[in-house]
């Protein structure tokens, strides 16, 4: 803002903006260190250059992984995991719509057999989108549902099967074991399955998302992230640290509760929004 020279207060402002966007203090400090180094190396004198340089830096981190969906099978098997209430079931509805409208044959598996009315919720979404859902009754074994969904997908020659799971906190090892079992069952039935394990992260979440990504990653081999609720005021900056440390790419973002409110992740757009107040 009309500054003549690059001074410390300018770095401080940027650091604050990063922290305010949930980038986290560790990652923010490292980014600022790299930025300082680059300013020196490239002999940058113009204060107006600082922010674009930082944005470029972050974009580089976020663009590292493969952003398109892993395919396999057929059917491509997608397992959706995450902590409670982040938007898994809603994202599955949107994903089904996204791929169906691109001409793919999609079926869903209601493997959240635990949360009250989770199956009904997925069914409403399936009707909205016009795809089938394979379900058992509440309280049944989620791995058995996943197995049946995959069987149905093969029998009906589907291109894609997307499996919903119950929300669970990553620190609960018995519940994480349940996800491992679902994974095992799918892999035994179809080589390479699940081809994509999508971890849903809520953009409103702060630094705990790092722990979520780490532990879900260890238990289920997460291959991609969906960052939801970006239509709110939260920026979701924590995924920068996650991308840097865990090298898991963000594949989609959620921007609302509607069926169309899903977008492929665009690092450039994300970084621009990161600095908007």
């Amino acid at each position: 803002t009309g500054r003549q020279a690059i001074d410390e207060s300018l770095f401080d402002e940027l650091e604050e903006a990063l922290i305010g966007a949930d980038v986290g203090v560790e990652t923010a400090l490292e980014l600022m260190e790299t930025l300082r180094r680059q300013v020196k190396e490239r002999k940058v004198k113009d204060p107006a250059q600082l922010k674009p340089l930082l944005q470029e830096l972050i974009q580089g981190i976020l663009s590292a992984g493969e952003s398109s969906l892993n395919r396999g099978g057929p059917p491509t098997v997608i397992l959706v995991v995450g902590v409670n209430g982040v938007g898994k079931t809603t994202t599955i509805g949107k994903l089904a719509h996204y791929f169906k409208s691109r001409g793919e044959r999609v079926i869903l598996g209601a493997a959240d057999t635990f949360r009250a009315a989770a199956i009904d919720q997925l069914e409403i979404w399936s009707r909205r989108v016009g795809v089938d859902v394979i379900k058992h009754k509440e309280g049944s074994d989620p791995a058995a549902v996943a197995y049946d969904a995959l069987q149905a997908a093969r029998a009906r020659k589907m291109d894609m099967v997307i499996i919903d799971t119950a929300g669970r906190l990553h620190t609960k090892s018995n519940l994480m074991d349940e996800l491992k079992k679902i994974r095992r069952v799918l892999g035994r039935e179809l080589r390479g399955a699940p081809h994509e394990v999508l971890l849903v992260l809520d953009a409103t979440t702060g630094q705990n998302a790092i722990s979520q990504a780490r532990l879900f990653g260890e238990a289920t081999g997460v291959t991609g992230i969906v960052l939801t609720k970006l239509d709110g005021t939260a920026k979701g900056g924590v995924i920068i640290g996650i991308s840097r440390m865990l090298k898991v790419p963000v594949k989609f973002i959620g921007i609302g509760e509607g069926v169309e409110d899903l977008r492929p992740f665009d690092p450039q757009e994300f970084v621009a929004a990161l600095f908007e107040i």
Binding site: E16, I19, G20, A21, D22, G24, V25, E26, V83, N84, G85, V86, G87, F114, R115, A116, A117, A118, D120, Q121, E123, I124, W125, R128, L169, H170, T171, K172, D202, T204, T205, G206, Q207, N208, A209, S211, K229, D231, G232, T233, A234, V238, E257
Partner: protein, 288 residues
Amino acid sequence: MQETFRKLKSKGRLTEADVDEAMKEVRRALLAADVNFQVVKTFVARVKERAVGQDVLSSLTPAQQVIKIVRDELAGLMGGTQSKLNLAPKPPTVVMMVGLHGAGKTTTAAKLANLMRKQGRRPMLVAGDVYRPAAIKQLQVLGEQLGIPVFSMGDRHTPVDIARAAVEHAVKQGRDLVIIDTAGRLEINEEMMAELEALKAAVRPHEILLVVDAMTGQVAVNIAETFNKRLGLDGVVLTKLDGDTRGGAALSIKAVTSCPIKFVGVGEKLDALEPFHPDRMADRILGM
């Protein structure tokens, strides 16, 4: 953080430089716990002001003294224990659950009904979320699990009409506690926030509870501030504290609303609701 404090131990007294060094670590710890950066700034400045120039108590080392000041300030900010609902002088007491999507409103409504019944109340749950797929069914299933009645009019009426009818029904049925579930909404969604204001005007709740996910990051401040400004919150419930989050959102919310955090959610089961303990929360945020 405790490492830095250990270094202080060897010295005879607290210098300003010592306090500065310690405060740098306090700042980092609070930010790592997701306390809002503005809140951290104010907090650190206040602690520093108190610490420098204060006599070190003879019973404490300088490090212990700094830790004591930080913890005292933090616990003070968090307020005392207050996990009682405002009860209506003339029943029924009307409680309204509000908050962002997926925060835990529906589950907490059921947990609260369960807790209050144990305290001798006759609760009724109200399905006021007419938007989210299967939200009504979710509340009905929870009500059934508890054996607590759920009032619903389907999803073709406005939440205001539903809530009005629900309160009337509760009076007839001799229910002395009405807990209204509402749909998740963004604090920046004008239309949806106006709906809550209309709901408040229609049923004049004795208690409006903001339900917040304990894992919430920097925006906890915006959320709490906006909901409080528009509705006048009576209390906050912090959910999902059964995980490993440090829960700095608690401090952010207290700092901007000075509204009491009344309960914490510590699991998905319907008995996993506990009173809020400020001192425990302060230690959790500091990672001690």
